[in-house]
């Protein structure tokens, strides 16, 4: 495997006796991507993550994280990967700072570096006022944010979050998602598993849908939506109610149009390709107006439901 994928699996399989938790998974995640793992409980998301960080050994197949095999060279993998487990726990009788210090020391940071870094990460997760409070007294949302601080302190190249927003209030969810987004903007590759489709859609560049241990679909939300809901066709919405005379002729000359339909105040044009450029030109030449075209967007939820309806 010689390429730029930071996380790569080939025919990765994990079986517990007869039960196959992850079935022949082949997945590639490039540097800088924010990849969302979706799927119902027990679909194999967590198992995949565990194999990627060497907490579980694959039954067969390959995993490479940053070019290393997590089962063979766990330290090299764990140096660059920050992992936030689903049910994150801290030492309840230590303070937030002490907990982070321990992580820092385990990552072989110098003591000065640790102090600076702790202040920095606590500030960014909004816990700067409670560094000396016992973690046992933290709320669930605060612990979750401390978990992100715990991932950030080791300056990872890859950050893996397993259900980072489960069980916290909408405001807390927003904070957590924004923090993850920030990490992604710092060129950290992010792998995130979640049920909360709306949130995933907000931050992920690409998603993979898991079902019964298999990756049933992967790609950007747009691409997945077109493939599953529109059979690969583009719906372009033209904010003109009636296509008259010349404009109609002009538009019908464009290659690949399959259907034209009027809906309320706009016209929906179905095509094989994204022809919004050509449409724009056509409208401009006919009416002299510069009209904004809109390619139909999809809700991840609809796509997701589509997959699980079929099963």
């Amino acid at each position: 495997m010689k390429n730029n994928f930071v996380i790569e699996t080939q025919n990765l399989t994990k079986a517990y006796g007869k039960f196959v938790a992850v079935d022949n998974l082949s997945l590639q995640i490039a540097a800088g991507e924010v990849f969302g793992l979706l799927g119902p409980n027990g679909a194999g998301k967590t198992t995949t993550i565990l194999m990627a960080i060497g907490l579980s050994e694959p039954t067969s197949g390959l995993v490479r994280v940053n070019g290393y095999d997590p089962a063979r060279e766990p330290i090299k993998v764990k140096k660059v990967v920050g992992y936030m487990p689903e049910k994150i726990g801290f030492y309840d009788d230590l303070t937030a700072r002490e907990n982070l210090e321990y992580t820092g020391r385990l990552n072989k940071l110098g003591s000065q570096e640790i102090t600076i870094k702790i202040n920095e990460v606590l500030e960014s997760v909004g816990l700067q006022d409670v560094p000396n409070q016992l973690v046992g007294k933290f709320s669930h949302g605060m612990k979750q944010r401390l978990g992100i601080a715990d991932v950030m302190i080791k300056k990872p190249k890859i950050a893996i979050f397993d259900e980072p927003t489960s069980g916290i209030d909408p405001e807390g969810t927003d904070q957590v998602l924004n923090l993850i987004k920030d990490m992604a903007s710092q060129n950290i590759t992010v792998l995130i598993s979640s049920h909360q489709l709306h949130q995933i859609q907000k931050i992920c560049t690409r998603v993979g849908i898991f079902s019964k241990g298999r990756l049933v679909a992967s790609g950007s939300v747009d691409k997945l939506g077109r493939e599953t809901l529109r059979k690969g066709k583009f719906n372009i919405i033209l904010p003109i109610a009636q296509l008259t005379g010349k404009l109609r002729d002009e538009i019908s000359k464009i290659q690949g149009i399959m259907n034209i339909e009027t809906k309320e105040n706009s016209t929906v044009i179905t095509a094989e390709d994204n022809i919004s450029k050509q449409l724009e030109e056509a409208v401009l030449s006919c009416t002299g107006l510069k009209v904004q075209m809109r390619v139909e967007e999809f809700e991840l939820e609809d796509i997701y439901m589509q997959y699980f309806k079929e099963l």
Partner: protein, 315 residues
């Protein structure tokens, strides 16, 4: 290697800070001082002109009404301390959700379990060393007889054996903490094993031995000796017997043989035991020490293998 050191220091600090150990330390100190006080009160009756090691006698002597000597007290408390140190070593981390976070940091898995084990041993060593020194100091003040060099050496051997004994109980408790998911289960299992080995093993050994070789008033010396050998063999399954025998041989240099029956026979024959040099005492208890060490190593390696091969799920 540095991962091991970090885990070690953290665990040691945790041990010192936890209320569990403050309570245990207080309890052990109070009980230790009480035992030595009783011993000092009664030492006059157990010592005569021919007693060579008066200072060591302080550790062995017990009250007339209360048959409770310092080694007996230690053989009860050390398992409790060992179990308290080990029973939740791994499963509490698992339950609290720390384990998967900890193991996703760049350290080897064995660093975690080794660090915990080492921190526990250091803790046991500190406890035993301090209580023995404390008791020795008190005893020195009370009876005013300074220890001889040989006695000091023997006390150090006594401390080391006690640490080894503590290490066994801790490794057993760690084993249960790896095997069982719930801390309550592992605590109960360790205590059950302790009670069984401590209280019932000698009963069971006696029962089996007397079934195999029934002893009556008409039994020959040979039969009595055979019974005794079998009984000892069986009760040596229990590490507390191994510990008791080794401590006896170390603190009672006159003891040429760990079997009381053989001692009795010797006394009937009119033999007055002469104290053995330390090297000879050590030679006598060598099998016991190896036994304790082996039991510790077995428990620890099973937990080690189990922990290293396990899948760490965040639940």
């Amino acid at each position: 290697m540095s991962g091991l050191i970090e885990v070690f220091w953290k665990e040691l600090a945790d041990n010192f800070n936890s209320k569990r150990f403050i309570i245990l330390f207080l309890l052990v100190y109070l009980a230790g001082i009480a035992t030595i006080y009783i011993a000092a009160q009664n030492i006059r009756s157990s010592v005569d002109d021919s007693t060579k090691y008066i200072f060591l006698n302080l550790f062995i002597a017990s009250g007339n009404n209360i048959p409770f000597s310092f080694p007996l007290f230690l053989s009860i408390f050390i398992p409790i301390v060992g179990i308290a140190l080990g029973f939740d070593a791994v499963n509490s981390e698992r339950v609290s959700g720390n384990l998967s976070r900890l193991l996703s940091q760049p350290l080897y898995r064995d660093d975690v379990i080794n660090g915990k084990f080492l921190a526990g041993i250091v803790m046991i060593a500190i406890l035993i060393f301090s209580i023995v020194t404390l008791v020795a100091g008190l005893g020195l003040r009370m009876i005013g007889v300074p220890p001889q060099a040989e006695e000091v050496l023997r006390l150090f051997v006594f401390i080391s054996i006690s640490i080894l004994y503590g290490a066994f109980w801790m490794s057993l408790a760690i084993l249960f903490s790896v095997l069982f998911r719930k801390t309550a289960t592992s605590a109960l299992a360790s205590i059950a094993i302790w009670l069984f080995l401590f209280l019932f093993m000698s009963l069971i050994a006696g029962l089996i031995a007397s079934t195999v070789i029934p002893i009556t008033q008409n039994s020959t010396v040979e039969e009595v000796s055979q019974f005794d050998t079998l009984y000892r063999m069986l009760s040596r399954i229990s590490p507390s017997t191994l510990y008791g025998e080794s401590v006896q041989a170390i603190l009672l240099p006159e003891l040429g043989n760990t079997s009381p029956t053989m001692m009795m026979i010797g006394m009937y024959a009119g033999l007055r035991p002469t104290p053995l040099p330390l090297s000879q005492s050590l030679l006598i208890i060598w099998p016991q020490l190896i036994g304790l060490l082996a039991l510790t190593a077995i428990c620890f390696s099973i937990s080690y293998i189990k922990f290293l091969r396990e899948e760490i799920r965040p639940t």
